[in-house]
């Protein structure tokens, strides 16, 4: 099972390596990971996507909580959370595929952020599923490069979550 886990940590040097070291040291998977400071600049927020059965996910959240620099861990339930990621995609665009790329971009509300006679570079945001769908449509047209932020996640409702 895929889980998206948000980890609020001290915004200090070395904290990210503690988190990553925990995963590699205990053989847990990381599918994606993104990290940046929050509105409180003493805190950073890590969003990571991992996989495992219930027991493994429980160990992951417990082990994360055990780190001294980790302040809070939330294993988001998909129905209570909004997940978004951004991708930048460079696609070949010559002759007849030139218009097709733009049509796909339009359908997924992606923006063209760079253009050359031979290519378009698109920016798209959305749920991981939407982004993946767009990438799959672009792939046969000649995907030259893809860069993704990995998902970030925020809880639904009025309550903010600061630790």
């Amino acid at each position: 099972m895929k889980h998206t886990i948000a980890v609020l940590v001290e915004n200090e040097f070395g904290v990210l390596s503690r988190v990553v070291g925990l995963f590699s040291g205990r053989g847990f998977n990381i599918d994606s990971l993104t990290v940046a400071p929050t509105n409180d600049e003493s805190l950073s927020r890590i969003t990571l996507v991992t996989r495992g059965d219930e027991q493994i996910i429980e160990q992951i959240t417990k082990q994360l909580n055990k780190l001294i620099d980790v302040i809070k861990v939330i294993d988001f339930e998909p129905e209570n959370a909004i997940e978004r990621e951004m991708v930048l995609v460079k696609v070949s665009a010559e002759d007849e595929s030139r218009a097709e790329v733009l049509r796909i971009a339009d359908i997924f509300r992606a923006k063209v952020i760079d253009v050359t006679p031979k290519s378009y570079t698109l920016e798209a945001t959305g749920t991981p599923a939407k982004v993946a769908a767009m990438v799959e449509l672009l792939r046969p047209l000649g995907l030259k490069e893809l860069v993704s932020t990995g998902p970030v996640v925020i809880g639904r409702g009025a309550r903010g979550w600061k630790g």
Partner: protein
């Protein structure tokens, strides 16, 4: 008044109640050692290797319950401490290790004797700190001690660059400390505790399984009371030994790979397993799927990650073990009538256990005049004081100690249970002896492990630490040899220590006394003489070379599949 960083460090140690430290000087801690030169309130012991220094601080911590402190210089000094830090980490020993570091301006430049010790020790410390500014030093030290000794204890490393030791600032030691990401649970959930008691009162075949956490959490008294009040038999892990007196009728001794037959049978047949501050290590459980298959499991532990890590748990209680047991005892007090009924219901179970005890006690055959290693352990027990402290290395001798020494008091066995570190025994004994100069302290080693830290004979002699070293010499790396005999067709690949060492001369070369026994009737004489001598003594016992540790549960087998003979 302004103090330099080196002095501030020492002032912090003093305020934490540190009276003894183990350390090795070097270029990046020379300023610290200069301050230490005139700082009379702390005794400094110089080991002959940084690994041994940290093991000594570990032994000191295990024997006293206080935080052990060690110092090493940067680079190789710091990397030499790794094995010892990992040893302490696996066994949850509270320690603070201070390492020197190259000046902050040089960090990352591959400077002379630079090592990224923060990076290296991240996976084997509870936490670590790099001090970048002398103004942070006092608070970091406060945090280091707080983290080391609270919750599930563990080693904390503080990396102190040379320029931070020189820089000056006003010194003020914080009264208390608050770390927002670190709030160990102390009190167990009252409802869970009540539930646990009611489950216990209904059990017909219960067993208490005790880990080292009961000793670390100073809860041996409460644990013993609990067992006695309910009449529940107790089995212990290696590091749990001493938490419940082994001469008590309810004691089953150690369980697991080399555990007692009765302990493994009891765990495999019980209907309730009460795990107290234990972590279900693979050496304890054997094949997980067949571990305590008929039992409900109650698990008390201060560390939530220990719960459900290896086995399913029906009733988890997170909290300080002493707090939880105290509360349990209170709840039990309110159920006096049921306790009596329960005890009566347990009679058939106790009878069954006594049958197992009688059927296959741990034993060995004494034949001819050859010394059996188990015999030496029994004689050590008989001829030493009840409060004697015994440190071990790792291997066969360690298991014979666990099987035959019969520990009755907490903090009298010092052994590397988790990491299984050879070379631990001698320096750990050294640390314990430094803490308790008046008590008998023994280091029981094999000939292999002893040679891993034998340079510490010099430290013993120099500091008049009267450790009695016991070498069970079989000229083999015995435990590996045993596995090779049983599972590798007696192909003794690199386990024969072919060079006979004159350990007596070795002891004498360091200025210690060496004694030797080669026949069984010499054993008592050697032990008695060693305890009479006021100074470190090395006793060498030439023991039966191919003796095996039995019973044995082969790796991956279930606890009931014991090899008995």
């Amino acid at each position: 008044m302004k103090l330099n960083g080196a002095r501030i460090l020492l002032e912090c140690l003093k305020r934490e109640g540190v009276d003894t430290i183990f350390g090795y000087p070097g270029g990046t801690v020379i300023n610290l050692y200069d301050e230490l030169f005139s700082f009379r309130e702390i005794r400094h012991i110089l080991p002959r290797h940084e690994q041994a220094g940290v093991h000594a601080a570990d032994g000191y911590a295990r024997a006293t319950g206080k935080v052990g402190v060690a110092i090493a210089t940067s680079g190789p000094g710091a990397t030499n401490t790794i094995t010892a830090i990992a040893t302490a980490y696996m066994d949850s020993i509270p320690m603070v290790i201070v390492t020197g570091q190259v000046p902050t301006a040089l960090i990352g430049n591959d400077a002379f004797q630079e090592a990224d010790i923060i990076g290296i020790t991240r996976p084997c410390t509870k936490h670590n700190f790099l001090v970048k500014d002398v103004k942070d030093l006092a608070l970091i030290m406060k945090k280091a001690f707080y983290i080391a000794r609270t919750g599930r204890p563990g080693p904390v490393l503080v990396d102190l660059p040379k320029d931070v030791q020189i820089a000056q600032t006003e010194f003020e030691y914080p009264e208390s400390v608050e770390i927002r990401g670190y709030k160990p649970t102390v009190e167990g959930h009252p409802k869970q505790i009540e539930k646990a008691v009611s489950v216990m009162l209904q059990a017909k075949k219960p067993v208490i399984y005790v880990g080292g956490g009961v000793i670390l959490g100073n809860a041996a008294g409460e644990l013993t009371k609990l067992a006695h009040q309910l009449g529940i038999p107790v089995t212990m892990t290696l590091n749990g030994l001493g938490s419940f007196p082994e001469d008590d009728d309810l004691s089953l001794g150690m369980l697991g790979m080399h555990g007692h037959y009765c302990a493994n049978m009891a765990v495999s047949n019980c209907d309730l397993l009460i795990a107290v501050a234990a972590r279900f290590d693979d050496r304890v459980t054997g094949k997980i799927a067949a571990f305590a298959p008929h039992a409900k499991i109650i698990h008390v532990d201060v560390d939530p990650t220990s719960i459900k890590k290896n086995v399913r748990v029906d009733l988890p209680i997170v909290g300080d073990v002493r707090e939880v047991l105290t509360r349990m005892l209170k709840v039990i007090n309110g159920h006096k009538g049921e306790v009596e009924t329960m005890k009566q219901n347990l009679a058939p179970w106790i009878e069954q256990i006594n049958e197992w005890k009688a059927k296959h006690p741990v034993t060995y055959k004494q034949t001819g005049s050859t010394i059996k290693p188990q015999y030496v352990i029994q004689r050590l027990r008989a001829l030493s004081n009840p409060d004697a402290i015994l440190a071990t290395d790792v291997g066969q001798h360690q298991m014979w100690v666990a099987q035959f020494f019969q520990f009755t008091r907490p903090r009298t066995l010092l052994s590397s249970g988790g990491l299984g570190t050879m070379g631990f025994g001698l320096p750990a004994a050294m640390g314990a002896q430094a803490a308790f100069p008046e008590r008998q302290v023994m280091a029981v080693c094999g000939d292999g492990g002893f040679q891993m830290n034998m340079q510490e004979l010099a430290t013993l002699v120099q500091n008049r630490l009267n450790v009695k070293i016991v070498i069970l010499n079989n000229n083999f790396l015995g435990m590996v040899r045993q596995w090779q005999e049983l599972f590798f067709d007696k192909r003794y690949s690199s386990t024969c220590m072919e060079l006979p060492i004159d350990f007596i001369k070795l002891a004498e070369a360091f200025g210690a006394v060496g004694l030797q026994a080669t026949k069984v009737d010499e054993v008592d004489g050697v032990i008695k003489k060693a305890f009479e001598i006021d100074g470190p003594v090395l006793m060498e016992f030439k023991v039966a070379r191919e003796e095996k540790v039995l019973p044995m549960v082969p790796a991956g087998a279930s606890l009931t599949e014991m090899v008995l003979t």
